[in-house]
Symmetry: C2
Subunit: 193 residues, 2 copies
Amino acid sequence: MVRPKTQRGIDTKERIIRAAANVFYQKGYYGGSISDIANEAGVANGTFYIYFDSKLDLYKYLLSEYGKRIRANSSIAIQNAANRKEAERLGIKSFFEYVLKDQSIFNIIWESLYIDKNLFDEFYSTFAESYAQQLKKAQKKGEVSNIDPKVLSYVLIGITNFVALNSIVLKQEKNTTHIVNEVMKVLENGMFE
Amino acid sequence: MVRPKTQRGIDTKERIIRAAANVFYQKGYYGGSISDIANEAGVANGTFYIYFDSKLDLYKYLLSEYGKRIRANSSIAIQNAANRKEAERLGIKSFFEYVLKDQSIFNIIWESLYIDKNLFDEFYSTFAESYAQQLKKAQKKGEVSNIDPKVLSYVLIGITNFVALNSIVLKQEKNTTHIVNEVMKVLENGMFE
């Protein structure tokens, strides 16, 4: 992956990335070709190779961009949270709203399991490690219970991902407030009477 | 899909199904051909068509078999549970142990998202509906809190799936007891102090 030096270069690269996201969502990673991506971006095939070495190189870049964007989205959402409980609520809500706007992310991210399962592992490990760091800090402050932060981070990622994919993407439920409220009940008091 | 009438037919069909699971895990649904499956099963291509109309027909059958086996496994595990809390613990533990023995299930089940997303939706909707029924019963008995059972079922499926895939399959953590204990802490008391 080459970092463009001019604004025009930055724009072209961004066009290729957006085109790739569309192509991978519509045709899958294996079904979509570099020609399809170049076509969709309105550039010549040769232009693709100015920025990326291969389809895999572009896919890896796209994956890391999704990771950064999702984490940035969440950081902004929780920046004024008074405590971890409020941060969880705001973070989960912002993820659901992110998914409402871009429903293709699961298809694209989870396809890594079929391209190279280490990419999938790396993607969620990076997420889980940064989550676990935040949870450890909150544990030191006495805001979060004594639960293995590694397991807890996968519990939280699992909840948000599965609820988002199944309820929001597949069932098209738009009332994220209700879903967030119900999820928070579990996180606040558990599920048993 | 044809139901075989003789024991020999049942065995052959079972061999084709197990071969298909291997081929789909190794090469993916699109990468694996009917010839690959017949080869792996040690039968002629024509024999395949005695039992299944197409690769998709076989894939759908495999998916519904996984659903049945996972639910049966869980039903057996929880049959003597005194209450819903014990049932959750036993059900989660049995799923983790199921995954330890057959680590290919996520690859095969989740590929449905790329074959026909309605298959993925149907698979998890069926799971979630049966889960929600059990949760509703437990709510009537006063064992489970007043949480939307549909959301709660996806919360629980999300936890078990993500923890199983990321910790057990990808990180090869074999200490399922520790993981179950940590998950149960969240389900019993929530995650906050």
